[in-house]
Amino acid sequence: MDLNYTPEQEAFRAEVRQFLQTHLPDDIRDRVKGHLRPDKAMTQRWQKILFDQGWGASTWPKKHGGTGWSPIEQLIFEEECALAGAPRQLDFGLRMVAPVIMKFANDEQKARFLPGILSGEDWWCQGYSEPGAGSDLASLRTSARLDGDKYIVNGQKTWTTLGQHADWIFCLVRTGTEGKPQQGISFLLIDMNTPGIEVRPIIMLDGEHEINEVYFDNVEVPVENRVGEENQGWTYAKFLLGHERTGLANVGQWKALMKQLKKVAREEQDGARPLIENTRFRDRLAQLDVELKALDLTVLRVLTNEAGPGPQASILKIRGTEIGQALFELLMEATGQDAIAHIPDALELDYDGPRVGSADATPAAGDYFNMRKLSIFGGSNEIQRNIISQLVLGL
């Protein structure tokens, strides 16, 4: 047992840090560190820079163009990126659909879809949830009827994050109604430019357009866009969710946020003293520091487990999202009444108009509102507790 990083791992960290210093564009860093509005072009530009370096997919094996890094190296990379202010790469392609394609798709599909994900050229979104199928995902009703060499898809998906930018959507659709709801589901890859698809925005409580509804009206999908076997989609869906969860601990991002929070606590005034001298506030900060340390070590324990993360990854999702939400809440409270003004224009990089308080205060409440999603998406935290009680505890 040894909690020290090896010299090789330290050298790797130095290499990543050096790369970020020289290759992360200032405007991108400022946008990320300032919690400004995310931008499709920015995400794609950054993906291209990583791709050119050979680092486009930190979690992929080498044979598909990934880095082949160990779990520890992946974490180091993620942490350094977050601390430097690099944007989060798009999970939907890289961490969600790609592992499914690698494991269950045929060679033609791999050759067709993986390169666009790696380069960032193809923007992917997720077609899982429906208005009537949230936590009870298997009750989904969007139908795909086989008609010769194509499926005819009808129905509605919702909570489609960044679907307004997407070139492709990976969808769970119903191809059978026999037996349990889980049997009869298939996994389709659908071109968002196909006639019959309509994307309608859902405005979130922070006033931002991040999620969408996607409607399918007799959308024709070639049968070669189905991954794996018909009616076996639930297996692939669960595999994907397992991958999604390990990414949701987000330790790197929370460490960067903790750093910002400490800075804000030094800069914000509480009467004649800096806020950090307020014991009640500082104790809450210390509590989160302790919890974040425990999460950090638990992630390392889970990811270095030779048997793989398994259902214990649910712990990471629960603790990661709870700690993230608490950090955003404390950041908002640190900026106090300055956080109450809603100034949407100030979320653009070139904004030089009036604001209330510091630049840290401007996005603080919006972020807090937005981040309530963390404990809901990716399988709500209550669903994660079900998973733990069933699969870990055998209840």
């Binding site: 047992m1 090896t6 500082r282 520091d289 994660q384 009680s389 209840l395």
Partner: protein, 382 residues
């Protein structure tokens, strides 16, 4: 970065757990506690034979050269079985102090006897009013020719009445709460003027109140340099905290296991109560709390041997905070899930809860250590 045990560590853990499962059951433990002796001779001898009592001592004094990770493995196993023997006071605290502060002759005259199981020691340090401040010592040691005279009162001396010798902290200089001026003395419990009042604790261990009245000790009773004991005291307490964190993790794992078993078998409304989602989620949260505590216990053990004071103390305080909070949560909820049975003395769960509760109180509770972390944040911001 790895969390793997070495082959030797794995073997040690396996054989210790096997021994405790076979030889240290709930009834046996009850008999030991009932005896009032504070420990069981045969068990202590068995620990010596397994090499546990000298594990962390240097090899030239019959030790095995182990570290705090090894102590963690032992203490986790002790936590599973709720071992009441004076391992913490004799081996971790006093053995650690002699190892780290002792002269070569003190080491060679004491440590082999601890390792062989013939010699028990206790750390007489805490004083009333000190709360968790380690430098708050009023007991005095006055030079008297080539000897010292000790006067004062010590509280919460774990297994004090069972010890052959005490390590007593006393002031040879400085004011009550100064770091400077603290010294350590090795004192035979049978020395004239040493009065030891033995008490049972709620968790089956023993504690003592020790009064020192004009206790005369020779100059070679001094452990380490005069006036310079504060860093040694801190280090020994940090090692003890890391050990207690590991014991708490073991106890939490055992408590979760026994509670899980209970809610799978206890039936109400015609079904096992573990079928109710409210209890399932509670159990999941207890499991998460224990896992977080385990991560922090590993952190504490990894840093406990370090001589980098700031890093070590921060890790220890972070660990004790989270372990204390987790122990409280797991303990209280386990009793709750046991229903009426949880508040009876016949359930192992209740004993695990009591031990977890007392561990939080020893060497600084969660609030105390959170305040240390918090103050460190302030110091870093300056």
């Amino acid at each position: 970065m790895n969390f793997n045990l070495t082959e030797e560590q794995q073997m040690l853990q396996d054989s210790l757990r096997r021994f405790l499962t076979n030889e240290y059951g709930f009834e046996k433990r009850g008999t030991i506690i009932e005896s009032g002796q504070g420990f069981d001779d045969a068990t202590w001898k068995a620990f010596a034979d397994m090499g546990l009592l000298g594990f962390t001592f240097p090899e030239d004094v019959d030790g095995l050269g182990g570290n705090a990770i090894d102590t963690m493995l032992v203490m986790e196993s002790f936590g599973h079985a709720l071992v009441v023997e004076p391992y913490l006071s004799t081996v971790v605290l006093c053995g650690g102090l002699v190892r780290d502060a002792g002269t070569p002759s003190q080491k060679s005259s004491i440590l082999p006897h601890i390792a062989s199981g013939e010699h028990m020691m206790a750390f007489a340090h805490s004083e009333s009013g000190a709360r968790y401040n380690l430098n708050h010592v009023k007991t005095t040691a006055t030079a008297d020719g080539d000897s010292y005279r000790l006067n004062g009162h010590k509280t919460a001396v774990l297994h004090g009445a069972q010890a052959d010798q005490l390590i007593v902290s006393a002031r040879t200089g400085g004011a009550t709460a100064d770091a400077e001026g603290l010294s350590l003395f090795i004192v035979d419990r049978a020395t004239d003027g040493v009065q030891v009042q033995d008490f049972a604790t709620h968790d089956g261990h023993r504690t003592a109140e020790v009064t020192l009245t004009d206790v005369k000790v020779s100059a070679d009773a001094l452990l380490g340099e005069a006036n310079k004991a504060a860093p040694h005291i801190e280090k020994a307490v940090d090692l003890a905290i890391a050990a207690l964190c590991a014991e708490a993790v073991g106890a939490m794992e055992a408590l979760n296991a026994t509670t899980l078993e209970y809610i799978k078998t206890r039936k109400q409304f015609g079904v096992a109560i573990g079928k109710f989602q409210v209890l399932q989620h509670r159990m999941a949260d207890m499991f998460i709390a224990a896992e977080q505590a385990k991560s922090m216990s590993i952190l504490a053990a990894s840093e406990a041997d370090s001589d980098d004071r700031a890093t070590r103390r921060e890790a220890i305080s972070m660990a004790k905070t989270l372990v204390g909070q987790s122990a409280r949560y797991v303990g209280q909820q386990a009793v709750q899930l046991h229903g009426g049975m949880g508040v009876t003395d016949e359930m192992f769960a209740a004993h695990l809860f009591k031990r977890l509760t007392l561990i939080n109180l020893l060497f600084g509770d969660a609030d105390h250590h959170l305040a240390q972390v918090s103050d460190q944040l302030l110091a870093e911001s300056a």
